[in-house]
């Protein structure tokens, strides 16, 4: 359980996180979604007591993180890939962290196997790929077998197999009753992994809702109908709260009626339907709609189209690990 209360972080005149309140519950994967620069990493660092909030507070399992006597058993965190001394081997890195709370060597070996780093465990971390760095970070998060996991962009740099692996890992951890809090700027990834979403933009809370609700809220509720008798169907569907438009011959877009109702009306009148499809906004569209105003770094050329949460290269504030900010990157099972 993570509880943030009016969490605020200012760096000089710039406010990175503004009056953020949310609760992350155990037993489900909670996605922490927002464009690059929205304040996700800052929030996670504040949860772990690495950055001090300008005001407000955040607790993990009822206590400020720093007050836990055995922090690694309380919270496991992956804050950034390769938060590792490049000259140290993966094994020694984990061993050193484990030693702080007396976690035995056997557990170090165990987590190395869990993340699949056995073959390179004795190699220096400086030569690791981003994906291997992520796996090592996840291994260190799992070391203390914690009740709460906080992972910042864990799929970054992983190959398709690795992404599938982490998706299942997160779901398994949540199903064991743990609190799993995962940040991402990849909506498609969150749609597949998370049950609940906390969405922020420019450091402010935009939504705190289930994934299903988040999508349905942004959906227009219209239905696409394709029929050889479109003109006749259009007359039959007409009603006081119903609007029907037709973008092309034989295709109707109907708002104000459910697809069930439209299908029934068509059947009663023996009208052939080729297609009957409720239009559901994708998580991406929903996200775009909600964060339209909250995107900090806008690509300079995107003036006419929809704003994309893409860091403009010129801003220079893009971190290396977030360079592939294309929200369309999707790897399905």
């Amino acid at each position: 359980m993570i509880e943030a209360r009016s969490l605020t972080k200012r760096y000089g005149a710039k406010t990175a996180v503004a009056d953020l309140s949310f609760t992350v519950r155990p037993g489900i994967v909670t996605g922490f979604l927002g464009p690059n620069g929205a304040g996700k990493s800052t929030t996670m660092r504040m949860i772990l007591g690495l950055d001090r909030p300008s005001s407000g507070s955040v607790t993990v399992n009822g206590k400020a993180y720093a007050e836990h006597t055995a922090p690694l058993h309380e919270v496991g965190a992956l804050l950034e890939a390769k938060a590792i001394h490049t000259g140290r081997t993966a094994y020694n890195h984990l061993l050193a962290l484990a030693a702080t709370t007396g976690i035995p060597r056997s557990r170090v070996d165990e987590v190395i196997d869990v993340v699949g780093l056995r073959e390179v465990a004795r190699k220096r971390a400086g030569g690791f790929s981003l994906g291997m760095g992520q796996r090592l970070g996840i291994a260190s998060a799992l070391l203390g077998d914690p009740d709460t996991l906080i992972l910042d962009e864990p799929v970054n740099g992983l190959d398709p197999e690795g992404i599938l692996w982490i998706r299942n890992l997160l779901k398994d951890l949540a199903s064991e009753g743990r609190t799993v809090f995962v940040s991402s700027h990849l909506m498609s990834e969150m749609a597949l992994t998370a049950e609940h979403l906390i969405v922020i933009g420019q450091g402010r809370l935009i939504a705190d809702t289930s994934v299903a609700e988040f999508i349905s809220r942004a959906s227009s509720g219209s239905v696409k109908v394709r029929s050889p008798h479109a003109a006749r169907l259009r007359e039959l569907l007409a009603g006081p709260d119903v609007t029907v438009s037709s973008a092309e011959e034989g295709t109707l877009t109907v708002a104000g009626l459910t697809s069930d109702r439209i299908g029934t009306i068509a059947a009663e009148n023996q009208i052939t339907l080729f297609e009957l499809a409720p239009k559901e906004a994708s998580l991406e569209e929903a996200f775009m709609e909600l964060t339209n105003d909250a995107v900090e770094y806008r690509a300079p050329a995107s003036g006419t189209g929809t704003a994309k949460p893409v860091a403009a290269p010129a801003t220079g504030s893009n971190t290396g690990s977030e360079t592939d900010s294309n929200p369309d990157v999707e790897v399905t099972a």
Binding site: R45, A70, L79, I84, V114, L169, R178
Partner: protein, 285 residues
């Protein structure tokens, strides 16, 4: 990478979390010490720096002792009177302090430059135990290696000098103090590096600050010797005070007395650590 990914992807992960453990492992200073020792011994830079530092001490000690022994018979009286059998074999400490100082800085800044510090501080959120443990592990490693090396240098030198009957031994006044003092001085130099590394957090910046303090300040101080301030300032500069421990007759060189001088040097290091601890506790990691 492909070789690695197979391990868990298809198996649905028995996360080893199935065997949940009771949450017992508290963070203690002893455990953090163990952790820092693992960190120290698992980096090649630790070995290299100590090897270079101690190697330089021995090499320079050998060189000085050898040359002086060879030239002793033809050496003018003035030079012979300047000769000191205790300090000549230990001259290499001046070079060793560079290696030890750099290692002290890197023990801390290596974590900041790689991001490791966030892992360290989230494991030990009270933070200061990390600083104390780093300092203790580093100090122990440096003190043991440099003290052993200092004794080695001393005895190597005396072996050479013995052939000319100009040798000293550990019972010679000041000898034991200076041989032990060499290890102590180098340890405190390294600790100054640890403190400055914590304060400045950048390797280059902290190394510059350390050697500006140890090597540049005394040179600047020489300017003061042309004024009446020289005697009031120079003996109290960090390295001048600390090196008083490594001189046989401090009265002649206008330095502080050996142990008071070294105590002042330690005082500078303590002051640095007070600032370092305050900043480490207060700043965002």
């Amino acid at each position: 990478m492909t070789a690695l990914t197979g391990t868990g992807a298809e198996s649905g992960i028995p996360t080893a979390a199935a065997t949940r453990r009771p949450h017992t492992g508290k963070v203690t200073q002893t455990r953090v010490l163990t952790s820092e020792w693992i960190k120290f011994r698992s980096l090649r830079s630790s070995y290299w720096s100590l090897l270079v530092g101690c190697g330089a001490m021995i090499a320079l000690g050998l060189l000085f002792s050898l040359v002086i022994t060879k030239k002793w018979d033809t050496m003018p009286q003035v030079r012979r009177r300047e000769f000191d059998a205790i300090t000549v074999p230990l001259r290499g400490y001046f070079l060793a302090q560079l290696a030890v100082g750099v290692l002290g800085v890197m023990v801390v800044t290596g974590e900041y430059s790689t991001g490791m510090i966030r892992a360290s501080l989230s494991a030990v959120p009270r933070r200061l135990p990390v600083l104390w443990a780093k300092a203790a592990v580093f100090a122990a490693a440096v003190w043991i290696t440099t003290t052993v090396t200092a004794f080695a240098c001393f005895f190597i030198g005396q072996t050479f000098f013995g052939s000319k009957h100009i040798q000293a031994d550990l019972s010679t006044p000041g000898a034991l103090r200076i041989v032990f003092g060499t290890g102590l001085y180098l340890t405190v130099v390294g600790l100054l590096g640890v403190g400055l590394g914590t304060i400045i957090r950048s390797t280059a910046g902290a190394i510059a600050a350390l050697f500006a303090t140890l090597l540049v300040l005394p040179v600047l101080g020489e300017v003061l010797n042309f004024t009446s301030f020289g005697d009031k300032v120079n003996p109290y500069l960090p390295s001048n005070a600390g090196q008083a421990l490594l001189v046989v007759h401090t009265e002649a060189s206008g330095q502080m007395r050996p142990w008071p001088g070294f105590a002042l040097f330690v005082g500078y290091a303590v002051a640095t650590f007070v600032v370092a601890a305050y900043l480490m506790k207060k700043r965002d990691a």
